[in-house]
């Protein structure tokens, strides 16, 4: 959808090569790009203004003008500033010293409070607590019912003395304050150590409901008031956050629907405007889809920089470990890449979601954006159909596929022979590519690669990785680190290959960037593996 910030900054800085220092105009151009990236991520305008001013000030300082790679340095500054606002340390729930810990949830309608109550309950139960959910949302139709179902799914008891409203037409009758109070009393009597109070969703401008929330807060004196906000929210985040901060004075923020592809600039807006920490992220519909908030990842997400990291993570989440190992082994042994492998690979990739999105995640996808727009995921089905129309023998030994076999395959998969030919041709290219990569292996022995990984100095990593990129692509013939040379070589291999190749080149570069700027994130990923 959007160019990543690093891409944009890189193009801004392209003209600056050779220049010793950055002029103020250069910095201005950079700052404009940063501003645009933040706005695209839905960071609130006043927050953007402030943030950009801070970045500009630092960017004009010595650390940038003396850096070897000003673009990288600026991205690093932005990243640091973002993390600074989002909070470095993850805050934990403040537990009560005596009696049950009371957690109250507040937020707009549809932000996901009721669902979150279940998730939080399940999460706390997993940590050995004994939570109780209290249904104080007597406003929304069937909210009580929903909480009961959610509680059941999460295996957490629900205190719901009042049925709440069952339709938009009932006037809310019960007293949510009383329900909350009774809930806490019940928890005390039944020795629950955590009480989670679900309240009605409300608009920031609705004084009456806000007062009700305030009353609940005053009545039960919660240790934590969590403000639940949708990651998709736009500029209204500031108004809403301020209204709730004033209304119920929340102690922490939960970002919901983070499993969507919203960039979640709201997180930055809320954290910056209210100064309250973001404590949790809700990342799916199941009761287990709930996690502590990672400021560093959020920073990258807002800047749209984490794509490659996300890709890897998605791959890790969905790739079959055994399958990956088998592939890696095959790769290392320099075995031929067969259609069977191709089929397996295709299935693994499919599990990662839409091909279009994966392609868009590839660095440098900008160039092919137009083509991407026309891309149809069902084309993959057609490819699969072709491969599936081959006999197992043909899949392992594609060389035996002659004219009549091709005709049969085409008939079997409902395509024309020329399409089968194209597939064979491209498969041949892929095979060669794999082989070359395998031969140019020895990646662990690369200088500055393995050992230097944690906290390695930027330049060392740069050299090492670049070498890898060159090998991966140009193969054993030329291990030139010179990008221009590489490109020239690739051009010889036909346009299609050139296109792939350039993606790959960028891929290598992207790793440089990630590793160099964000050693922390990378390290983490490695640690988590």
């Amino acid at each position: 959808m959007f160019n990543s910030l690093s891409d944009r900054l890189a193009s801004t800085f392209k003209n600056l090569r050779g220049k010793g220092r950055l002029s103020e105009a250069d910095v201005d151009a950079t700052v404009r790009e940063i501003r645009r990236a933040l706005l695209d991520a839905d960071v609130a305008v006043p927050v953007v203004r402030e943030f950009v001013a801070a970045v500009k000030e630092r960017a004009l300082g010595a650390e940038v003008s003396e850096a070897l790679n000003p673009a990288q340095q600026v991205v690093k500054i932005v990243n640091e500033e973002l993390q600074g606002i989002l909070g470095g340390e993850t805050r934990r729930i403040a537990m009560a010293k005596t009696g049950p810990t009371i957690i109250m949830l507040a937020g707009l309608q549809g932000a996901g409070k009721t669902t979150l109550a279940g998730k939080l309950g399940s999460w706390l139960a997993g940590q050995g607590h004994k939570p109780l959910l209290v249904a104080s949302d007597l406003q929304r139709p069937n909210a009580v019912n929903q909480l009961q179902v959610v509680g059941e799914r999460a295996g957490v008891p629900v205190f719901a003395p009042h049925p709440g409203t069952t339709s938009e037409f009932d006037d809310p009758t019960g007293d949510p304050v009383q329900v909350a109070r009774d809930g806490v009393a019940t928890a005390r009597a039944k020795l629950h150590d955590v009480v989670i109070v679900d309240t009605a969703g409300r608009l920031g401008v609705d004084q009456e409901l806000m007062k009700q929330a305030r009353d609940i807060r005053d009545a039960i004196v919660p240790q934590e008031v969590l403000f639940v906000i949708d990651a998709m929210i736009g500029q209204d985040a500031v108004n809403t956050a301020l209204a709730f901060n004033e209304g119920v004075d929340f102690t922490g923020v939960v970002l919901s629907k983070l499993d969507g592809d919203a960039r979640g600039g709201a997180a930055l807006s809320v954290a910056s405007v209210t100064g309250k920490p973001i404590m949790f992220a809700s990342t799916g519909e199941g009761v287990k889809d709930f996690e502590q908030f990672h400021p560093d990842r959020m920073a990258k997400r807002i800047l749209d920089m984490g794509d490659v990291l996300t890709l890897i993570e998605q791959a890790e989440a969905s790739w079959d470990k055994a399958e990956a190992d088998r592939m890696a082994q095959k790769f290392a042994d320099q075995e031929d890449f067969t259609f069977e492998d191709f089929l397996a690979q295709m299935q693994q990739i499919r599990k990662m979601g839409s091909m279009k999105k994966l392609l868009a995640m590839m660095p440098n996808a900008a160039q092919m954006r137009q083509q991407l727009e026309n891309f149809d995921d069902r084309e993959i089905d057609r490819v699969e159909a072709i491969v599936r129309s081959m006999t197992p023998h043909e899949r392992v030994a594609p060389k035996i596929i002659n004219g009549s076999r091709r005709a049969r395959i085409a008939r079997g998969s409902g395509v024309t022979v020329s399409e089968v030919n194209q597939l064979m041709e491209r498969f041949g290219q892929a095979q060669k590519m794999m082989k070359r990569m395998a031969q140019g292996k020895g990646m662990p022995n690369m200088p500055g690669m393995g050992g230097g990984m944690p906290g390695m100095p930027g330049a060392g990593g740069h050299g090492g990785k670049k070498g890898k990129g060159a090998k991966g692509k140009a193969g054993k013939k030329a291990r030139s680190g010179n990008p221009a040379k590489r490109e020239a070589q690739l051009k010889g291999g036909g346009q299609k290959v050139a296109q792939q190749g350039s993606s790959f080149g960028q891929q290598g570069q992207q790793f440089d960037q990630d590793a160099m700027n964000l050693p922390k994130g990378f390290e983490k990923f490695l640690g988590e593996k």
Partner: protein, 379 residues
């Protein structure tokens, strides 16, 4: 060395993914082309020697008149309320702009701030910039520095962006015997079920017969919620008793019931789904395909929350791809949010905003009126 091994492992993994993606992507580009017709010609989905399904029993329209405990408020007065509400919630934009434009000279700072003000309304960086540029051009061409005139121009440009010429009529009737099929889609928590309920009231007020389909089989109590809406205005709700049933089958049954009973329209409420969940989007595509076995879907409404920011555009794009949305419903416009993203969506996808939701009351759903919308933004 251990560390190095890990790095190596993950690098291989990355290479594999990257290569796979590229190869597959490249292949797909090569093979890229529209769906082609099968080689032989088939007149329909059935084989010639297939046993024909018995013809639909015609005219079982003897259904007892549903009890109508309530008559929803007429549609006519709603626009006035929309205007009143909008001017209350959105006056910030109008005032801010007026203050800016009242300065004596219009310099770059002023333009920047106009752009920022538009951005605050969630209009999006692209459309805001374009709006400001066309306004700048006009100011230069017409050589005016009169703030009132500039404001007038801004109004015109905004209206042009919103495009009043667009057809905003809801396609509620099917062709011939078929019922009109309305599919309501959107991400989680935007108010789909409520919109269906409110729309049902509007249709009942217009003397239409309809059936509701509770194809949201995922969210706890969603079907109950819809049924409550239906019962209130005497409309039958087709639902599955079993939680987690196949939504496509519920939708099919609802459409089939509507056809059988000769209802004018069937409205199908679907579960909220984030647009990047490929599986769920496939499921939605299936709901539509399966429903179309009964009658063509005449209207696909995408519900968008007014607080949604730039992600609204992504939502609209993906949903448009999967189910070909024909209209947008902008909900929760009664807060401080301005819902400017719909302007951008309309501009980019050409899908008109058809309805706006203005609050929690059962009759707070109004047809979208572009001029009223813009006027309210600027007043």
């Amino acid at each position: 060395m251990w560390q190095a091994g890990r790095v190596n492992d993950s690098l291989i993994l990355i290479l594999f993914i990257a290569l796979g993606v590229i190869v597959l992507g490249g292949l797909a580009f090569v093979l890229l082309r529209g769906p082609r017709p099968p080689k032989g010609k088939y007149p329909g989905t059935r084989d010639a020697d297939d046993v024909q399904a018995p013809p639909e029993p015609a005219g079982t329209a003897e259904a007892p008149a549903p009890p109508r405990p309530e008559r929803p408020a007429p549609v006519a007065g709603r626009l006035v309320r929309l205007r009143a509400r909008l001017s209350r919630s959105n006056s910030m934009l109008g005032k801010g702009l007026l203050a800016l434009l009242s300065r004596e000279r219009i310099d770059q700072d002023v333009w920047d701030e106009i752009e920022e003000t538009l951005l605050m309304a969630d209009l999006g960086a692209g459309p805001s910039q374009r709006l400001v540029e066309s306004l700048q051009t006009r100011v230069r061409v017409e050589g005016t520095e009169d703030p009132v005139h500039v404001k007038q121009m801004l109004r015109e440009e905004l209206i042009r962006l919103v495009d009043p010429q667009m057809d905003r009529e809801l396609a509620l009737d099917g062709a011939g015997e078929d019922p009109g099929v309305v599919l309501v889609v959107g991400v989680n928590g935007v108010g789909k079920t409520t919109t269906v309920g409110k729309l049902a009231r509007v249709m009942v007020a217009e003397e239409k017969t309809l059936i509701l389909g509770a194809a949201d089989t995922f969210r706890a109590a969603a079907a109950d919620q819809l049924q409550t809406w239906g019962n209130r205005v005497g409309v039958r709700t087709v639902r599955s008793e079993q939680e987690g049933a196949d939504p496509a089958s519920v939708a099919y049954e609802a459409a089939a019931a509507a056809k059988e009973e000769g209802a004018d329209t069937v409205m199908i409420d679907t579960a909220g789904r984030l647009q990047n969940k490929a599986g769920l989007m496939d499921q939605l595509g299936k709901v539509k395909r399966v429903t179309e076995k009964v009658a063509p879907v005449t209207e696909v409404l995408l519900v968008i929350d007014a607080t949604t920011g730039q992600n609204g555009m992504v939502q609209a794009k993906v949903f448009a791809e999967v189910v070909d949305i024909t209209g947008i419903v902008l909900t929760k416009l009664d807060g401080t949010a301005k819902g400017g993203i719909v302007v951008a969506i309309q501009d980019e996808l050409g899908v008109p905003v058809k309805l706006v939701g203005l609050g929690e009351g059962p009759d707070d759903l109004a047809p979208f009126d572009p001029e009223g919308f813009v006027d309210a933004l600027l007043d």
